[in-house]
């Protein structure tokens, strides 16, 4: 290969690579992103997360977690989730939203024994029955003590 051919070939390869990368930029989503910023940028952080991708799998659940976070007693040490689909996405979002509290699904904890002192059960998707003593009633569920006296 002649000395002048190598830089020419390299230049062609570099330009092709750049064009390939530019063509793979998700340009079509720009208007949607700008609209999202305009719509949510002025709202409080929790509302921005509620409208975002992180809560898209179950927005009502995020609303439940945020309402639960605001109503948890200050003495809460752990939150046990009841009525929540036992998958990773629901557990991870709860752990993040309720950090630094320990979060787990209620069923395996109760099957293994008693919950820790100060644990609160966050029940999703229904309102308390007459026999359940709710600490707080939320639009999406309710909270009750995990270790009732």
């Amino acid at each position: 290969m002649s000395p002048s051919t190598r830089p020419r070939l390299a230049a062609v390869a570099a330009v092709l690579l750049l064009l390939l990368l530019l063509s793979s930029q998700p340009l079509a989503e720009i208007p949607r992103r700008i609209r999202t910023l305009e719509a949510y940028g002025g709202k409080e952080l929790a509302v921005r997360r509620l409208g975002g991708s992180g809560a898209a799998f179950d927005r009502r659940y995020f609303s439940f977690l945020e309402n639960a976070r605001r109503r948890l007693p200050r003495t809460t040490t752990a939150v046990l989730l009841s009525g929540v689909p036992e998958d990773e996405a629901h557990l991870y979002l709860a752990a993040y939203q309720l950090a630094p509290l320990t979060v787990d699904f209620a069923r395996p904890v109760f099957e293994a024994g008693h919950p820790a002192t100060g644990a609160v059960i966050a029940v999703y998707g229904r309102q308390p029955s007459e026999s359940e003593h709710a600490i707080a009633v939320l639009p999406e569920g309710f909270l009750m003590a995990g270790d009732p006296p």
């Binding site: 750049l18 992103r33 910023l37 949510y40 952080l45």
Partner: protein, 437 residues
Amino acid sequence: MSALVFALVRVGGVVLAASAAGWIVARALLPPDRPFRLERLGWAFAVGVALLESFVPLSFLAGARPGGIAFAILAGVCVLASLRLRVPRSRTSPRLETWNSRPAAHLLLSLLVVLGVALYLLRALTEPMWSNDFVAIWGLKGKAIFLSGGMPAERFPGFSHPEYPLGLPFLYAGVAFLTHGWDDHAMALLFPLFQIATLAVAAGWLRRRKASPTVSLLVAAILASFEPLYSAFLTGLAEVPLAFGALLFGTALADAFEPAEAGALRRLALAAAILAATKNEGLFLAAAGCLLGLALGGRRRWKIAAAALPAALLVHLLHRIWRGSLPLRDFDLGLFSLERLLRSLATAAAVVGPLGWIGVLLVVALAVLGARRRDADTLVALAGCAAVVYLLLPAFAVRGPEWMVQTTLTRIAAALAPLAAAGIGLGYARAADGRVA
């Protein structure tokens, strides 16, 4: 948009202040000569990030709540130390070709760099950081540290990988302590700043190593447009910081081979510590760099090895002291078999996809067509070592090779792009005798 803008200004102000301290501290890392100026911007950001990461655990150790005073004390100590450890002017400082030698091409490439940064800025800041691994790992730990005002009494849950390094969670917590609030939307600003710092180091290092402005800008434009790394999905995860750390480490390692490169060993040690604090493979890269130094470093090999690995080991040891010895929960060495390795490679070939393969072939062509030189090859070899390990590791994956390749390979391999791009770009720099490949 006022709520977001206000939060962005606060986060930006904290990072700017930390980077300003980093700019001064960088006097102990780089010579003050003009050819180092662009690189120094990136190193200033790196030092700023390192200060933000480290003042949190240091405050805990001192029994204090992390805050502005603790940060100012640490930054002040580092600034004072840098005054005594200032790197002298470089004896090999090159005379550089001016940026305006090909104005039209350079303007176009500069615009493409700006476009790439602007597009990533939009992707990163559209919404609060949301990726699964941010919520379950990096963001969760940072938020728990910040809201606990200390290391949480309960160990991080198993799904959050307690065995991962804490550099990024400490960075999040550090920013939150200094802005007095946890804002996982405004904090996404860190990631376009990591991108800008990466571009500054890549282009600045190439320019200093006598690559033409065209080559330097082309590499920066390619990297800025590299969406597999600078994506909305990876915003909040450790890949973008790791890519930056790997580039810092690779360039410092290549510099360290030169006896006249003042400050290179210090840069190497700092980059190794940053790498080890970011991800577990950071320690591997530091070890690989140490071995490359021993193999290629000639009379400087022991100095290079001593700079490359101990700082990373120290960071790793500090993690071990705090969390104890934890197994890598995704891997089991006993699972390896040739059949699993072949399944891993087959899945990798499929995951890359047709357009990806075209890109890979173009990158290989560029690497082959460039000149062979030790400094360039060092970076490419380092990236190559990591790529080989990334292809091997899925054979040990507990959840199966296919799962590991499909969920992680493209994103962790993408983090090697800046390191490889700088190495390949250097193959087109002017050699000592003035030749260009």
